[in-house]
């Protein structure tokens, strides 16, 4: 298995169960390839950060603009 395929399978196994042959191939490749192990760690970190951001966006993210806030408040009063 080449690193390119390993990277694809590292991603795909988050989305669906891999066939047995691919699971074994990926496991063997990861045992032998430190760079792919690092890549997998980083992909998992990206997904964990994204999941956290999805549930609780940063308090540094922009807030509802004042004019929009007023427009919504007005529309709720009608």
């Amino acid at each position: 298995m080449r690193c390119l395929e390993s990277a694809r399978l590292i991603s795909e196994r988050r989305d669906h169960p891999l066939p047995l042959g691919q699971r074994i191939g990926l496991r063997l490749h990861l045992l032998l390839c430190a760079l792919c192990r690092a890549y997998e760690k980083q992909i998992l970190a990206v997904c964990a950060i994204s999941h956290h951001a999805g549930i609780q966006p940063s308090t540094h993210a922009p807030t509802l603009p004042a004019d929009r806030r007023r427009a919504i408040e007005d529309s709720l009063k009608r």
Binding site: H52, G54, S58, E73
Partner: protein
């Protein structure tokens, strides 16, 4: 409990929940005007459906649920123009950008990173560089935890196409964060 008692006091809705809803929408649609429209629609729908709110969840959870449906409806409505240019033709000729070392910064916790102002700016900028269909697929899968089957229905793509889009989105986001944050600091 207080939230439950006060849910009919709609005069405080925008003050109490407006920013949270806006941030939620903006992260998913990457367009301030559209995010504002979706938040406005959410409040108006909630007002209309107020009698149906049983108080089984907090007002905020209820409002976020309405907003989530509005965002998915938006994705579904204009999917054809977005997808035409972003559907993956195949994986041939792709390059893999391996890191040759892994910065210790990758071990920081998600909550530490998300609450770091500079990281948040980099993260949202990196998300915005993804092709629109890939960003939507990634958002539904990783931000919201939808299943592949649910996402395929919204985007109108096959499972194989979805997996390729998600792989490319994850790989591109990883590379962007590595260059602009983890190794670039």
């Amino acid at each position: 409990m207080t939230d439950d008692i006060n849910h009919r006091d709609t005069s405080r809705w925008v003050e109490d929940h407006g920013d949270i809803l806006y941030r939620y929408a903006l992260l998913r649609v990457n367009d301030p005007d559209l995010a504002g429209d979706l938040v406005q629609d959410t409040f108006l729908s909630a007002l209309k459906g107020l009698e149906g709110f049983r108080g089984g969840s907090t007002v905020r959870t209820w409002l976020i649920g309405i907003l989530k449906h509005k965002i998915i409806d938006h994705y579904r409505r204009d999917r054809s123009e977005v997808l035409a240019s972003d559907l993956p033709p195949g994986t041939e000729g792709e390059d893999l950008d391996h890191a040759d070392r892994v910065s210790a910064r990758w071990s920081e916790t998600p909550s530490q990173l998300v609450e770091n102002r500079e990281f948040w700016a980099v993260f949202t900028r990196c998300l915005s560089t993804l092709p629109e269909a890939h960003r939507r697929a990634f958002s539904m899968r990783e931000l919201d935890g939808l299943t592949g089957e649910e996402i395929c229905k919204v985007l109108g793509v096959t499972a194989t196409n979805l997996w390729v889009m998600l792989h490319r989105a994850r790989a591109k986001l990883r590379r962007c964060l590595e260059l602009n944050w983890f190794e670039g600091k």
